[in-house]
Amino acid sequence: MRIEHLNELRDKNLITSEQYNRLEPIVMGKIVSVFFELRTLLYLGILLFTTGVGILIYENIGDIGHLLSIIALSVLTVGCGVYAVNKAAPYTPAKAKSPTPYFDYIVLLGCLLFISVLGYLQFQYSLFDDGMGATTLVTAVIFFVAAYRFDHLGVLSLAITALASFWGISVSPQKWYSGDFFETANLHNVAIVFAAALSAAAVVLDKFNVKKHFTFTYLNFCCLIFLVAALTGVFIDYSGYGWYLLILYIGCGLAVWAAHWKKSFLFLLYAFVAGYIGTTYFLTDVILDDPFVWFFYLIASCGGFIFFIIRFKNYFKREA
């Protein structure tokens, strides 16, 4: 947008002069928002700081300065907590507006530091008897509480990943790439049940109007876990893959429904990609063995799909 175009809008009376006066300095670059840059800096700072502190704690266990650093961390954690509690608006089931532009990063820092301290205490004094499992669960619970109390999407996604990792499921594309999605056998079944249960819980919460804007985050993680788990089932369980294919299609159907419901094309993307991979696997197993037929299948399926999207473009044009 150039100033000439903005003037044109005003001259055509498409915007009021009051709006023009607000827009003019932005378009002219007289006022520049560094909100995004500062948030990025803050994010990187927290990333570096918590990483550094994490390594420091574990590397220097037993040193003299060690106890001091733990105390310092605890003080810092409490500081973040006090700040968050003091500044936060009272709990509301609706979307809360954050009191300052950096409020949510303070909450995030507090949560992460708390987990560092907790992890250290567990490591040193074995707070919870049955090893790391309980720590992960406690982590998840704390994250969930903080996410709901302080209305924080980032902490919510940390909570979901922690809860998933309590069941042994790692929600990380990097790990899926290296084939570590499920650390033990048959975990894909756990993952399917987990994703189904969590998304059901999310839908129920949404129906009760509790933090409706969290539903997307829940469904996003659940879709990813469910579809990847079902696909894993299709690929590794040769004798019973028909069942997994069925589960996959149900998952895709639900994702399409979620796309309608939440007006988001992201779920549609997941559903189509997962469904296509599953179907192609099935067809490869049954009929596709000649390369010519294979190529024809690729052209026909994807060409048809493109045609379908463009043909019904008004349907897909809806706001995401």
């Binding site: 550094g52 690729l298 799909f305």
Partner: protein
């Protein structure tokens, strides 16, 4: 100046997109938005970002099928015939894109467009390379020409990056081939050539006729800045000299003009930051943040005391404190800068931010005994792409 797209429609699309952005930030009302939308009608097919990804994937697979099928017919002809066929197929794809998808179906960056475009570029360049028997000089020049043409005609960002990369590589390669003193002055030549280019692009950006290309020009602007910096960066110069120019450094020895490069490593980021703040230039500002981080890394790389965790902790706390201070300081606008979110960048997205946080911070930390996430790759989080 003409792109492949309908000029007025393209302009109208840009206006409506900006207006939608304003609407999201309450700068205009629903009423004004619909008025603008009906005044600036565009017949271009430009779907939602996610639909574009979906279409891109589908089109890539379908094109793979077409290519595979054709390859089955002509697979066993010789190199010359294959090259000609590739070239024809590539040019044919360009025509198909231009006539069918842009001409008839009015697609504008629809995902299908990109898929066909990259496909066409790939086969055209591949065919030319095959015909010239993989001559490197010609290859780079062909890349430069094809990418520039594609960037110009289809306003495509990926082609823009590739075009500039080909240009930079061409300069590097030719000087490197000449050898001798010319190898030594490569960094200098880069700085001398890309600095005027940078100012030329900024000049171009001011003109009203280049408005449709402004995304490409902004990208070029930042890439030029990065190239100028990289040419003067000590780490880049030293490592490239060692690995490509057989420079052998004894313990305690240093590259020629080492102090010049040390100086540039410090001065360029500071200059970027200074002029970015002084002229309220967001491109300069963002690039400066990126290169400051890289300069710190450069010095840490050669003069490290080996305690990365301490660097992380201290660096992290400095960043946190600095940004918190700036947030407070810029609460009310100062010198035209504000920390308020008046008009967010188009790729800032809360859901995406949450996902990045869950992938990079904490999460599974409680399970691992020593968190081994390095800080090296962490800068990708802030990224300056428009991936989201």
């Amino acid at each position: 100046m003409k792109s492949a797209y309908h000029q007025t429609w393209l302009h109208n699309l840009q206006i409506t997109k900006t207006a939608k952005h304003w609407l999201k930030h309450d700068l205009i009302g629903e009423q004004e938005f619909s008025a603008i939308k009906s005044a600036y009608v565009s017949g271009l097919y430009h779907p939602n970002f996610l639909i574009r990804i979906l279409l891109f994937i589908a089109a890539t697979i379908a094109l793979g099928g077409v290519t595979g099928m054709l390859a089955l017919f002509v697979g066993d002809s010789g190199q010359a015939v294959l090259s000609v066929l590739c070239l024809l197929y590539g040019v044919g794809s360009f025509v198909f894109l231009d006539r069918v998808f842009i001409g008839n179906l009015r697609h504008y960056k629809s995902g299908v467009n990109e898929a066909i475009l990259y496909h066409a570029i790939g086969f055209t360049i591949g065919g030319m390379l095959g015909l010239s028997d993989f001559n490197e000089h010609l290859g780079i020049i062909v890349c430069l020409v094809v990418f520039s043409a594609a960037a110009y005609r289809y306003i495509d960002l990926v082609s823009t990056v590739c075009a500039l990369a080909s240009l930079a590589y061409l300069i590097f390669f030719e000087l490197y081939q000449v050898g001798g003193i010319f190898q030594q002055i490569i960094p200098l030549v880069f700085i001398i050539l890309f600095t005027p280019l940078y100012f030329f692009i900024r000049k171009l950006k001011e003109s009203l006729t280049t408005d449709p290309w402004s995304p490409c020009l902004i990208l070029l602007e930042s890439l030029c800045l990065l190239l100028i910096y990289a040419a003067g960066n000590y780490l880049v110069v030293r490592e490239l000299s060692v690995s490509l120019m057989d420079l052998y450094l004894e313990e305690g020895q240093d590259i020629p003009f080492a102090y010049l490069f040390y100086g540039l490593t410090v001065i360029i980021p500071v200059a970027y930051l200074y002029f970015g703040i002084k002229n309220r230039n967001v491109v300069l500002l963002r690039v400066s943040l990126l290169v400051i981080a890289f300069s710190v890394f450069t010095f840490k790389y050669y003069y490290s005391l080996g305690h990365h965790e301490i660097t992380f902790t201290i660096g992290g706390s400095i960043l946190v404190l600095l940004s918190l201070y700036l947030f407070r300081f810029l609460k009310s606008p100062k010198a035209g800068f504000t920390a308020e979110n008046i008009l967010s960048s188009k790729w800032s997205n809360l859901q995406a931010e949450a996902f990045i946080i869950s992938q990079t911070l904490g999460g599974n930390k409680a399970q691992a005994d020593v968190p081994s996430q390095g800080g090296g790759g962490s800068f990708s989080g802030g990224g300056s792409t428009d991936a989201f």
